[in-house]
Amino acid sequence: MTTTPQAVRRASPRTRPAAKKAAKAAKAPAPEPATDPSAVLLPQAEPVRLIEADGTPLPARADYPEPPVEALRELYRRMVVGRRFDTQATALTKQGRLAVYPSSRGQEACQVGGVLAVRDTDWVFPTYRESMALVSRGIDPVEVLTLLRGDWHCGYDPTAVHTAPQCTPLATQCVHAAGLAYGETHQGRDTVALVYIGDGATSEGDFHEGVNFAAVFKAPVVYFVQNNKYAISVPLSRQTAAPSLAYKGVGYGVPSEQVDGNDPVAVLAVLTRAVAHARAGHGPFLVEAHTYRMEPHTNADDATRYRDGAEVDTWRDRDPIARLEAYLRARGALDDAAVAAVAEEAEAYAADLRQRMNAQPEVHPLSLFDHVYAEPTPQLVEQREMVRAELAAAAEEDGH
């Protein structure tokens, strides 16, 4: 109960030996934990940023070494494909192929950065907004869009792709992740859970309970808050009076960091360290990314009711893809040919998706009874009989 102020003040990167070790280990694919949990709780006062909005590199820093250039090229590739996917999905709503679509345009660095920071065997806990992250993770885009097309709820097999169903009841996934991660540890596996959550959802009680459970049980979870400034129409100022959402960590004894969410290099660097921290057994880590939702909440929303174009324009200038492209080009890690190749891949991806989404999905009314329980109850068997009879009668009528 008695702690010196140092315990909650972040040591400066210059003087923290652990960070120096991390810098050395940076070339390894899964760096050693860079943090001493008892010495680091509060986030740095300014979001971590490694490249400027125009792609100019900032001075290298020991606490967040830059990810390897191959990782950044891969990040770029997936962000471009991801955005093209996102645009295509929005277009599909206009053609009536999707019931609704929440775009994550503008949040590409977060969507893809999160996925690249974890292993395939790690678990991702997405919200409805993470379609882009999920396709980036390699999940079939048609399966990702199943929920939004409306033929079933979750289109993929979560256990096969280590990805929870896209979560709509806000913040509830925070607790699931704590349980999953703890359960994996309990069974001797070194799985990490990565939770995507929005700024608004941090106001829910389940955020509090989830992060706290993870902290008390030292569960390897990274809580990744995409602060895109709005919860539908409600601005951040109505969610919190805190200096930033990252400051919530200290109340749980969880180290936290804030990052420029439109700086793909910084996002990947910060998440990589957070994941390493969790995997090393130091418990959860909280990251807040400052980003922006460029589109309305969903295609059904009218964002002009609550924010003006000037604000959106400001953020247009901070586009994460252009930023990374400029940086990689300047470093000589990307040229016109490579950019064109990625663009082409993205087009092909979108075309394939478009074509596959053109087919009307088959839905089987009687399947409604298949997965309520492992075996249907007598009550459900009765109701299935009723529906079967209705369908038979309808078919007969159609026949005449």
């Binding site: 019931a99 709509t168 829910e204 129409s233 409600v234 409604l368 459900l380």
Partner: protein, 334 residues
């Protein structure tokens, strides 16, 4: 008199309540500048200012608990839960405080408030956006549970709910929001506790509420072709329930089908069926039957029409009301 929608009627009721009573506050998620995802609070913040109509942090237990405190200070909160399933985080606040505070304090502390819940399906919403949650509230003593099925009722019942000395869970059938009807606002219809015969008939009574009322009316219309003259009763207020009107109708007709969109097991439809047979046993020529949603989690949009009780399912059920005075073959053995 002019055509208007249920959404507009609800909006007008809120506006008139805000104008008439300084104590009324409207708040929740996205109810301010956006005017609510269904636009029920459209324009209220602009007209009454952001002290009277405002957005809150995204936390439903917080919203309802905050309303409890405001009511304790003498105000009249009207809160919006954005969708049915998103009121569940507030369940403890509703069941353990909102419903009980008057009782716990022997009436010294009352917490009049309205909890508006857009509910049920039929709008192609994805999972968690279409639950029929009225039974959870109806089963909780201390709450009044009201659900309009007409434009005029939407206005009138909401005004009454806001003026009521007790907490009211106000269930708004989403699929009726944009159905329009002639209505002369401000309308005042029958008070809480009164069911209404929406269509007289002699052969059987269809008892329905909320989103099931238009289905019942449509079924009654279609039943004429089959030679049945069906009466339709709109329950309107689930708690308090109008036994008198419902029982009188069933005693007249001798047959009854209860229609609710919710999954049937242990729902409001079960309560109505149980009450009707208790009270009308000797007048009944057939058991009271129920038509309800299936006992499954609300399905994905492309399958919801199979789940929802529709006209055909109602007519099939009416057909089973033992018109030949023979027991139902399905249930002779089971």
């Amino acid at each position: 008199m002019g055509a208007t929608t249920m959404a507009k009627a609800l909006n007008a009721a809120l506006a008139d309540a805000l104008a008439d009573d300084d104590r009324v506050l409207v708040f929740g998620e996205d109810v301010g500048r956006l005017g609510g995802v269904f636009r029920i609070t459209d324009g209220l913040q602009a007209r009454f200012g952001d002290k009277r109509c405002f957005d809150t942090p995204l936390a439903e237990a917080g919203i309802v608990g905050f309303a409890v405190g405001l009511a304790m200070s003498g105000l009249r909160p009207v809160v919006e839960m954005q969708f049915d399933a998103f009121a569940y985080p507030a369940f403890e606040q509703i069941a353990s405080h909102v419903a009980k505070l008057r009782n716990r304090t022997r009436g010294a502390l009352s917490v009049p408030m309205v909890i508006r819940v857009p509910y049920a399906g039929g709008i192609g919403g994805v999972e968690h956006h279409c639950d029929s949650s009225e039974a959870y509230y109806a089963h909780t003593p201390g709450l009044k549970v009201v659900t309009p099925a007409t434009v005029a009722d939407a206005y009138s019942l909401l005004r009454e709910a806001i003026a009521d000395p007790d907490p009211v869970v106000f269930m708004e059938p989403k699929k009726l929001y944009f159905s329009s009807a002639e209505a002369d606002l401000p309308a005042r219809t029958e008070p809480f506790g009164r069911a209404v015969v929406r269509r007289p008939g002699r052969d059987a009574t269809l008892v329905a509420y909320g989103p099931a009322v238009p289905v019942a009316l449509e079924a009654a219309e279609a039943a004429r072709d089959e030679g049945w003259d069906l009466e339709v009763v709109d329950v309107r207020t689930i708690v308090p329930f109008d036994d008198a009107t419902v029982a009188a109708s069933v005693r007249r007709t001798g047959r009854c089908v209860v229609i609710s969109e919710a999954q049937g097991f242990a729902g409001v439809g079960a309560e109505i069926a149980a009450r009707v047979q208790e009270r009308c046993f000797h007048a009944l020529h057939a058991p009271v039957l129920r038509v309800s949603g299936l006992d499954i989690p609300y399905p994905a949009p492309m399958l919801e029409h199979t789940h929802l009780p529709g006209v055909d399912r109602v007519l099939d059920t009416v057909a089973r009301l033992q018109w030949d005075d023979q027991p139902d073959p399905r249930w002779v053995a089971a």
